[in-house]
């Protein structure tokens, strides 16, 4: 067998988990009355962000996020919407990055980032439950160990891969655990790369200010330094978050790092933005969405200036979005990296391990 075919066959356990995670996501939002939407993948005007580069596609760009279109739907009265689909970011390639990846975004009208946090906690726990429940049906029907289905011999090789990975093993070898549906007890911690993370327990919540004071020794809210913030986040804060036994929510980013979040009404030096970390890996970014059109336009224009000064492509302003923004109710929204979540549930160390094809 060609190497590429063998490698594909060896990914079977991870690909089954990927399918189960995306199904669990759709089931979760469908059950809660969210509307599944599809917005354009090729855009004229990707959101202007200082450090996010769009991949050109003819005279347009591939989307870096569906955010600006989804907010136009909010403005038109669609009050709970979600979308699961591909996004693209130029030049991002590594263990936890790929230029093409799967993003989940959802938005709620008349809500803020705290409502989105409740959704997120419920979603992640629901995915874990769904994986445990589907283990008997889905996994045993497709998994290499099932003799009734008589899988091709080459697929059977991937059995070793399942056995060497903690979370996957729990899913795949479903028969021999007590008190659980399909072998994965709902309260059992997620096992990822020798870390044990309790998804069903209360998640640790701390402000960005607290995290930086504790692990980096300075306060980015009173004295923001973008460059130092990025470096200390990855060198000091994220490694500390990796040692926590539950997921961590980092809340209330310094206002200059607000991106498209609104400022906190009673504390304008921070923005209502949080990030979810599981096992020290950034999984999702949520906002109380900025609805003030003047402030939004000013932020885009400031960003355009910074990109121009850095010699980066300056995308046109999305005027349709800016026209719709005054009609958008106060809303909460989030972007969640589905591939990274699959990586955690499949107990894999890299995105390459849970992605069938990497172009």
């Amino acid at each position: 067998m060609a190497d590429s075919t063998r490698i594909l066959a060896e990914k079977s356990a991870a690909l089954l988990i990927r399918a189960a995670v995306t199904k669990a996501i759709r089931d979760f939002f469908d059950a809660q009355g969210f509307l599944a939407v599809d917005t354009p993948v090729r855009l004229r005007a990707p959101a202007l962000e200082r450090h996010i580069d769009a991949e050109p596609s003819g005279s347009l760009f591939l989307r870096t996020s569906p955010e600006l279109h989804m907010k136009q739907l909010l403005a038109a009265g669609y009050d709970r919407i979600y979308q699961l689909g591909p996004c693209f970011r130029r030049g991002e390639q590594g263990r936890l990055h790929h230029p093409e990846y799967t993003m989940l975004e959802w938005y709620r009208s008349n809500a803020d980032y705290r409502d989105i946090l409740n959704d997120t906690i419920a979603l992640v726990r629901a995915i874990q439950r769904a994986l445990s429940q589907s283990s008997r049906d889905t996994f045993s029907a497709h998994s290499p160990g099932n003799t009734e289905v008589a899988p091709p011999a080459h697929i059977a090789k991937s059995e070793g891969l399942q056995e060497s990975s903690g979370g996957t093993r729990s899913v795949a070898s479903s028969e021999n655990k007590q008190g659980s549906i399909g072998g994965w007890h709902q309260a059992e911690p997620l096992q990822w790369q020798q870390q044990s993370i309790r998804l069903q327990d209360e998640w640790l919540q701390m402000t960005v200010q607290e995290a930086f004071q504790k692990w980096a020794g300075w306060d980015p809210v009173s004295d923001y330094d973008a460059d130092r913030f990025d470096l200390d986040l990855i060198e000091k804060v994220e490694p500390a978050l990796a040692r926590e036994q539950t997921p961590v929510i980092l809340m209330d980013y310094p206002a200059p790092a607000a991106a498209l979040a609104r400022r906190k009404p009673d504390q304008p030096e921070v923005a209502e933005r949080w990030e979810l970390y599981i096992g020290g890996i950034e999984i999702a970014n949520a906002y109380s969405e900025l609805t003030n059109v003047e402030e939004q336009r000013a932020r885009f224009e400031q960003c355009a200036k910074e990109r121009e000064a850095a010699g980066l492509t300056v995308y046109p302003l999305d005027e349709a979005f800016l026209e719709a923004l005054p009609h958008m109710p106060p809303s909460g929204g989030i972007a969640l990296g589905v591939d990274r979540l699959v990586m955690l549930f499949a107990d894999c160390a890299t995105l390459a391990d849970i992605t069938a094809f990497l172009e």
Binding site: E49, R50, H51, I52, G91, E92, Q93, G94, R95, L96, H97, A226, D227, F229, D230, L231, L233, I234, E235, E238, A257, A259, E275, E282, N285
Partner: protein, 189 residues
């Protein structure tokens, strides 16, 4: 000069005037933040390793490295003498640079020596070298299948573990990368 996007595992760079190699490399990008390149960097002279994070805009020095083929000639006390067969220059190296590799040198062996700013910093031998076992307990017959090993010495006193069936006078092949026994070449008399 290299830019951060050139960084990759195995790339040799210069940091604080010292030749280094990147032993681990990771692209990272905190949410909404700048692209960063986290590296583990090993100093090629001291062997010590440090963590360093580069920003996308940073420039990294290229080291002035040159690899030359030399021939091992003879041992002179603590020094080992190599000959450059094109310039006929002699190079004396001590145990500080050679490490355990000095035990595996054989006369007329061709080796690669890495120079940084014309100073030798690292030697690479052929992967395998043949040596005679000069000292070991007598071999046990009929025990070729097990992994039982025993100590043995080669001519210069280097000690290694060999299978139980190896006898004094046997010639064996040693893997110079690990310093371990590989296989038997011929039996002694």
């Amino acid at each position: 000069m290299y830019t951060a996007s050139d960084l990759r595992k195995g790339l040799k760079i210069e940091m604080d005037g010292q030749p280094c190699v990147i032993t681990d490399f990771q692209f990272v990008k905190p949410g909404k933040g700048q692209a960063l390149y986290r590296c583990k960097i090993k100093n090629l002279i001291t062997g010590s390793t440090v963590d360093k994070t580069y920003r996308a805009v940073e420039k990294i020095d290229k080291p002035n490295l040159e690899e030359r083929d030399l021939v091992y000639s003879y041992q002179d006390g603590e020094q080992y003498v190599f000959l450059d067969s094109t310039t006929y220059e002699q190079l004396h190296l001590g145990p500080d640079i050679l490490g355990d590799q000095r035990f595996f040198l054989v006369e007329d062996m061709e080796v690669q020596i890495l120079f940084h700013n014309n100073n030798p910093i690292e030697i690479t031998l052929p992967f395998f070298v043949e040596k005679e076992i000069v000292e070991t307990e007598p071999g046990a017959r009929g025990d070729t299948a097990t992994n039982v090993q025993k100590p043995a010495k080669i001519d210069n006193g280097y000690e290694l573990q060999v299978p139980i069936f190896i006898n004094q006078g046997d010639r064996v092949r040693i893997d110079t990368r690990t310093g371990k026994y590989s296989d038997r070449v011929s039996k002694g008399f």
